[in-house]
Symmetry: C2
């Protein structure tokens, strides 16, 4: 077993998590949440999305949020933008780290943004270029890399070709998403091999797993074994899956911090501080968050048993 000595967690709870929660969270509570996450040692926090408020009402306060957020030195605050209009607003708000998104499958992309993947990529290229010209750093999300709720299996080579276009467009990093949580470790290997074949360097790849079927931590381990050092996660395991109501959302930040701590992999994040931040947002949402490491911590308030 030869794992990286150090990894980077990209916290997506405030965006990917809260976007999939049915209970709205007041802007002030979101800001407290984001500030607590940044204080825990997380250096990348995706805080919101500049999409149409009627599409994602949970994140309709993106402007107010950025206006009020106190930024911490050394932390990258990311915002998702769907198009040129979203980018414009984001830049007006002082966003310096933007994420664009498309999918590896036609069915999902059509349902999500009502266009083909080719059309999406053509529309995103100038957005990425404009963002870079404005001095921003750009991350590219590729959804449904491991399977599509409409089209079923996805060819890893197809996913890699989408990644390649986003990389060539200027994205600093690609986040490969298992949107519906169907990946298992061998699929992670296949997808990474397809990216190798397409000339996408592994250091440009982040892995983004949903724990819908309980495989997310094992998939992160498969990524570690393949030398991947960036992983997306959401505090507490916030969020859900619109394609499997009642199922789990993103892999929990606490579960990955536990994994890294126990495995001697440095991630620079305080487990207890993330768990406290999740606790507050869970109370706000009125539900027990799915993170198992967090639940064990909350039950015992001690971690000295390993």
């Amino acid at each position: 077993m030869s794992w990286p000595a150090r990894v980077r967690l990209v916290e997506v709870g405030p965006r990917d998590g809260l976007q999939n929660e049915s209970v709205p969270v007041p802007t002030e509570r979101k800001i407290e949440f984001i500030e607590a996450l940044a204080a825990s040692g997380l250096r990348d926090v995706e805080v919101t999305s500049f999409v149409r408020p009627d599409r994602v009402p949970q994140l309709a306060d993106a402007r107010e949020l950025f206006a009020a957020l106190r930024r911490r030195e050394g932390v990258r605050y990311w915002a998702l933008v769907p198009n040129a209009r979203g980018l414009e607003t984001a830049l007006e708000c002082g966003v310096t780290h933007v994420a664009v998104f498309t999918a590896a499958s036609e069915g999902f992309n059509r349902a999500n943004v009502n266009s083909s993947v080719e059309e999406s990529l053509a529309r995103l290229k100038p957005v990425v270029a404009d963002a870079i010209a404005a001095g921003a750093t750009v991350r590219g999300y590729v959804s449904t890399v491991f399977g599509c709720p409409y089209d079923g299996p996805v060819d890893p080579a197809r996913a890699a070709s989408v990644s390649r276009v986003l990389l060539d467009a200027g994205c600093e990093e690609l986040s490969l998403g298992d949107t519906i949580g169907v990946a298992a470790p061998p699929a992670v290997e296949r997808v990474l091999a397809a990216h190798d074949a397409m000339g996408v360097p592994r250091e440009k790849i982040a892995l983004h797993f949903h724990d819908t079927r309980g495989m997310a931590v094992a998939n992160v381990v498969a990524g570690l074994e393949a030398g991947i050092t960036s992983f997306d996660a959401s505090a507490g395991g916030l969020g859900g899956c619109p394609f499997a109501p009642g199922a789990t959302g993103n892999v929990a930040t606490e579960d990955l911090v536990w994994l890294f701590d126990e495995s001697g992999v440095e991630c620079g994040v305080s487990f207890a501080q993330v768990a406290e931040a999740s606790g507050a947002i869970g109370e706000q949402l009125g539900r027990k968050l799915p993170s198992r490491a967090r639940a064990a911590w909350a039950a015992t308030r001690m971690r000295g048993t390993s």
Copy 2:
């Protein structure tokens, strides 16, 4: 990645799962559960325990259960026995597959059976011998292999020495238990290496993970990579952890069947049949069982999206 082509699941839900559920289950419902599990393709089912009814009231009906159980050809029905008295009763009931147990740590063994590990092993040796003399097959559980709720970290060499004694006593298989769910993949490697050093063959080892901190599937993968082919699991993820109230129990059978199916590893078990069996017992217990693969299946009732 070179994983075994075929693995064996040991279903422990009716025993390790139900023993840790607070709601009692009528004998008849247990029998339906066990028969449904055996019909799903599981070839090893641990059905109950012949311990003192005042210690584990949930399993006080062991005699009645064995008397009424219709056995399926080719299925091994296991029962846990703590001592000579338990073995005697089990044999009277026609049990042919018995499991004995001790721990790798003094603190846990003292709390569990009020004796040192050495004393336990000395007491178990004649029990194993008597069981074999009566024609039974014996499995040995070693608890707290990866950490103890009382003593903290456990030396892998100490755990391996306990395994070695049980193997020499005549156990056909050793089940190495992460009783409190603190293992991560590197610890799995360390424990298996210690067993190598102690001359315990890997084909004699089963791994028994609790998903208390969300690591269980990743730990099973670590086992697969090390060539282990037997894994304990409980349908639906039944059970809990007495040392972390509210935390998750055994790794869910459905989560492992999903992992194996998606990874091209044959396990001979029908996901849907196990999920149906768990559903019935979950209704009986009046709670949503923790298996994530099961929850996704129940939400979508389709598995064709990967």
